[in-house]
Amino acid sequence: MLRLTSVVACYGGITALRGVSLHVDDGEIVTLIGANGAGKTTLLDTVSGLITPRSGTIHFLGGMINGVAPEKLVKAGMSHVPQGRQLFPDMTVYENLVLGAYQQSRRSKRLHLQGDLERVYATFPVLRERTTQMAGTLSGGEQQMLAIGRALMSRPRLLLLDEPSMGLAPLLVKEIFKVITSLHKQGTTVLLVEQNAKAALAIAQRGYVLETGGIVLEGTAHELMRNPAVQRAYLGKGYRSLIES
């Protein structure tokens, strides 16, 4: 579904991705884990067309998408839930959701909008209760649900999630990840960027570890979870032995 080959990309004049290759197959949850500043967000921004790669190629659903505008990619079936939600705080929940269907034609909206809204409300019942509330007044967890809900309005085949767990209490993290799993079960392919490696690896099939712009480990989620280097750096295990040595 998605294939990156030797992608080099810059962010603020700094080379943030130094030749990254990865792929996401249809029906997978693939997670990209790494520390702050590793280039994870740059990678998602490059995939969704917000940043144009310096070199390398990105293929989505068989076609090359280097330099393709984000709105066209949304139309093609890609949805990006950016880091920090990026909602419109002074608009209502309903208005934010409808904006998620922004790129659809008037006709398509007339036909599908209600159904799409219903699907999102079914996934996140709390949003239905808050339809007329301003997005800025929602709790952190509700805002994250709204951000995902908005992305679902375009009925994506590939969902890009940038740190959905950020700033959320553990219980809410659990809930968000449950939702991601159920979206996946309904047929959405997911590329999940996370600092919370434990939660991400628990629901993903495969993963990549990004370090200063390069991938240093890849494998099944199972393999990565058992990898001592991953455990030490991202899962918080064995830090004691690190200090000893």
Binding site: S6, R18, R226
Partner: protein, 433 residues
Amino acid sequence: MPIWNKRCETMGRAEMEQLQLERLQTTVNRAYRNVRFYHRKFAELGVEPEDIKSLDDIRSLPCTTKEDLRDAYPYEMFSVPLREIVRIHSSSGTTGRVTVVGYTKNDLRTWSELVARVISAAGVTKHDVVQITFGYGLFTGGFGLHYGAERVGASVIPVSAGNTERQIQIMQDFRTTALVGTPSYALHIAEVMEEMGVDRESVRLRVGLFGGEPSSERMRREIEQRLGILATDNYGLSEVMGPGVSGECEHKCGLHVNEDHFLVEVVDPETLDPVPAGAQGELMVTTLTKEGMPLLRYRTRDLTSLTAERCVCGRMNTRMRKVSGRTDDMLIVRGVNVFPSEIEAILFETEGVEPHYQIIVEREGALDQLTILVEVSREIATDRMSRLVELENKIKARMHSVIGITPKLKLVEPKTLERGHGKATRVVDKRSL
């Protein structure tokens, strides 16, 4: 025969190359960051990890030689702290100082998986009783095949090397169906069985998985006939992992390479340029998933060729031809390059000759002298002198036309040459250079 990992062994080309590129870049990043040797080599060549943008870019990477590994003795090539290494093996050290390899937990899992693929390709299943005659210990042959066979679910008998009569006893009593070892040892077993007068019917053996040394097609046929089995070849070397790099399926038309874990190249051993598709050259292996000790472009010294043609078994991976010899086996006799594998091929296609020989190179005065000792069949050994002379002349003429020099030839009686229990000693170079 069942394909052990259908997804990985029948993957389409484009998908495989994407996976290989991802893993190559990952390996390069780790080798560069964690192994001082590679960091230095990259700097010397002016290469950075991000220069690897395609699989072809591998040619800009440094090669790794056996010598490099010796210099790194014991742990300098490891890319993880020693506490993450759970197994240490070392090369068989047939020549010179030994080299050390380390495996992480994941590496061991991968190893079993890859050997399981090779074993399945040869047709071994959980219904088989597998007798392993490779040495256990530092050598990777025994343990490598052992865990792969267990993964498949076969009943494994870890006899280890040596004590041939006991091996045969166990083979009969335990109803062994699959034999694992070197091809020369398999032949030795066949011989001892004939000597002991073992009834073929009392042996259930049906398949053999052979590796660890180069061998010829003739040798394979000999093993198949004398033991009444299907003899398959598999390949690996401890430096990059051990057995499990590649193995033959029942069609015996080249060894299927586990390309999702190893990137193979065949190059001219002198210039290191890639040889044309299908041509013979030296095999270079880059590990794609090894964590403990990733190796880039390891020069195996093994001579082979690659083919991308589809195999009828359904596996889609590249195949390598049975390794026929080694670049460092090459003897220079009176200025002529002589490969022992060529000599073996000539001997084995000659009627009346047994598959046991020894090549001796000596210096008489200033002149190199090549002597070949070869066993002849009992029938010929007891025949008239003229037949022996006839045979000798025939072989000499062949040698002259193929390798360019006429060796001294000594035809000896059957079973007079020393038998190795592991890798056979085929070449003795007595020159002090």
